[in-house]
Amino acid sequence: MRQAFFPSLCLLLLLVFANNSLATIDVYEFDSPELEARFKVLIHELRCPKCQNQNLAGSNSTLSLDLKMIVYEKLKAGESDQQIVDFMKQRYGEFILFKPEMNQDNVFLWLAPLIFSIIFILVFVRWYMTHKEVEDD
């Protein structure tokens, strides 16, 4: 009886906390499934400025909750995805986007794979042609 007490207490505590965590999930009501889908995409593409390695969807910081609410309110008010992203960028910069747009600071990152691939192909083709000529001779 006494042995069963501790596991039962743990189980009870787990249930209590599980209930609490459910209670903190925000409920956003949408007029259409399309609007809800856009909301989900936006909160996955926008980064939490406070926690940095999480998107708005995955963060429960107060700032993220506020920003999620702003996304929700703006969608309900009829704003486009681009308008909402621009609003966030004006306040938190490019950093708020999980998929950064190409600009002069990151152009090399975007183009590096292409540049290295072209160089690799050129070197390979020249090497292949040279060896082919040697074999033909």
């Binding site: 400025p49 406070k50 940095q52 107060t62 700032l63 506020d66 920003l67 702003i70 960028k89 004006q90 306040r91 938190y92 910069g93 950093f95 090399f108 590096a112 540049i115 290295f116 160089i119 690799f120 050129l122 070197v123 020249r126 090497w127 042609m129 040279t130 000529e133």
Partner: protein, 184 residues
């Protein structure tokens, strides 16, 4: 044959040099403090707002009040431990007659904010009560404390994230305030 080989050598050297350049660049990027985000509002006008005063809700403040003065806007909250460390410094800085000190009480409960002011002292010329944090978001705030320097035209000139201790105040804020006073 010789020409093709020299072409291969050139491309290989180019690839290696590019790779080294990319490595150095990446190393430089990772060495930067990515937690400190530059404000997007530097040299832009302060956001437009209409927000009530913390101490007197009948007073409504707007961004127009920044014009003609050099203002320091300090974002604070009673739930922010660093704000308790920072607050005594404002007693010293409030003696500087060149600046107006504006508090922005961010995402706080009114009673707790008033208790903070009562216990820690009120050194602000006026304090905005931003209960839902929307004004903070307009400023691009991502925590507390943060401090914005606003010039006489109402433009944001600098944002500091964290405690404005004597070193930050003397080495960063005072030179900038002097610059603004000289008309830069």
């Amino acid at each position: 044959m010789m020409k093709k080989n020299s072409g291969n050598v050139f491309l290989s050297v180019l690839a290696i040099l590019l790779f080294i350049a990319a490595f150095i660049w990446f190393y430089w990027l990772t060495g930067q403090d990515k937690t400190e985000l530059p404000s997007q509002l530097i040299d832009s006008p302060a956001p437009t707002f209409k927000v009530v005063d913390l101490l007197d809700e009948s007073i409504v403040h707007t961004q127009e009040e920044f014009k003609g003065k050099i203002s320091l806007v300090n974002i604070w909250a009673s739930w922010c431990p660093s704000c308790y460390v920072e607050h005594p410094y404002w007693k010293e800085y409030s003696k500087n007659e060149d600046i107006v000190l504006v508090g922005l009480n961010y995402r706080d409960k009114k009673q707790k904010a008033l208790k903070f002011i009562r216990e820690q002292g009120d050194y602000y010329d006026w304090t905005l009560f931003d209960e839902n944090g929307r004004l903070g978001i307009e400023f691009g705030v991502y925590g507390a404390p943060e401090t914005f320097l606003i010039d006489r035209e109402g433009k944001i000139r600098y944002r500091h994230v964290g405690v404005v201790d004597r070193k930050v105040y003397n080495e960063v804020f005072l030179p900038l305030i002097d610059k603004i006073k000289k008309g830069f």
